[in-house]
């Protein structure tokens, strides 16, 4: 995968979020035969910058240093859709959900619009907006999770969060 990224002139920065230092992640890096750079984030600096609370995450950054796509929690580059999205971005500079879309159609617009409706008590309206956004970008995890949490609160708020169920939803494409 790394060689394919490089063939498009793109690069990979692997960030090990290991508060105990480099000794824990090093074996993983070496076992992967990694040619890319792995840095160690001992202070969770990137968690502060990107606002994530869980790993693994993926972020696509363009030539100017701008964030173009983010996948918080559950990022898996071996997943077919994700791998395709990453390679498409590497080759074309076009991030998921951007193809032929105006700014008003981008999922990051749908997410806050849905949130606004949700907070105003218009749950059905919020669901509609988030459904639209999820259709544009099925990899917008946060939006899909909001939908799931509304439609299946028992999977989120009744004891432990049911990650196995979430995995099934991803596989089923709901």
């Amino acid at each position: 995968m790394y060689s394919e990224l490089r063939s498009h002139g793109a690069d990979l920065l692997s960030v090990a979020v290991d508060l105990q230092g480099p000794d824990l992640p090093r074996p993983y890096h070496e076992a992967a035969g990694a040619e890319f750079t792995t840095v160690v984030d001992e202070t969770n600096a990137l968690g502060g910058i990107f606002g994530y609370r869980a790993i693994p995450n993926g972020f696509m950054i363009d030539e100017e240093g701008r964030l173009r796509w983010q996948h918080h929690s559950g990022f898996n580059v071996k997943d077919g859709d994700t791998a395709a999205a990453v390679m498409h971005f590497a080759a074309t500079g076009e991030a998921p959900g951007e193809a032929g879309k105006t700014d008003a159609d981008t999922p990051h617009d749908h997410f806050p619009r849905g949130l606004e409706l949700y907070r105003a008590g218009d749950i059905e309206g919020a669901k509609g907006v988030w459904r639209e956004g999820s259709a544009i970008d099925p990899t917008h995890w946060n939006m899909r999770k909001q939908l799931w949490a509304i439609e299946h609160p028992e999977r989120f708020y009744d004891g432990a969060v049911d990650y196995g169920w979430q995995k099934e939803q991803v596989e089923a494409g709901t």
């Binding site: 990224l5 498009h8 002139g9 793109a10 690069d11 990979l12 920065l13 692997s14 960030v15 090990a16 979020v17 290991d18 480099p22 824990l24 992640p25 090093r26 074996p27 993983y28 890096h29 750079t37 792995t38 840095v39 160690v40 984030d41 600096a45 990137l46 910058i49 990107f50 606002g51 994530y52 790993i55 693994p56 995450n57 993926g58 972020f59 696509m60 950054i61 363009d62 030539e63 100017e64 240093g65 701008r66 964030l67 173009r68 796509w69 983010q70 918080h72 990022f75 580059v77 990453v86 971005f89 590497a90 500079g93 991030a95 981008t106 990051h108 997410f111 946060n142």
Partner: protein, 42 residues
């Protein structure tokens, strides 16, 4: 909740130590497309 940065936002520069102890900054990658992959051994 979504991240604190939106698509199109400039990502603040950061510098972290690589496994061999050298400093690596986001700005080192300026001019090319980059995938940042955050993971943990735990």
């Amino acid at each position: 909740m979504s991240g604190v940065l939106n698509s199109g936002d400039l990502v603040p520069d950061f510098t972290l130590k690589s496994l061999d102890g050298s400093d690596v900054s986001l700005s080192d990658y300026r001019g090319g497309r980059l995938l940042i992959f955050c993971w943990g051994s735990w």
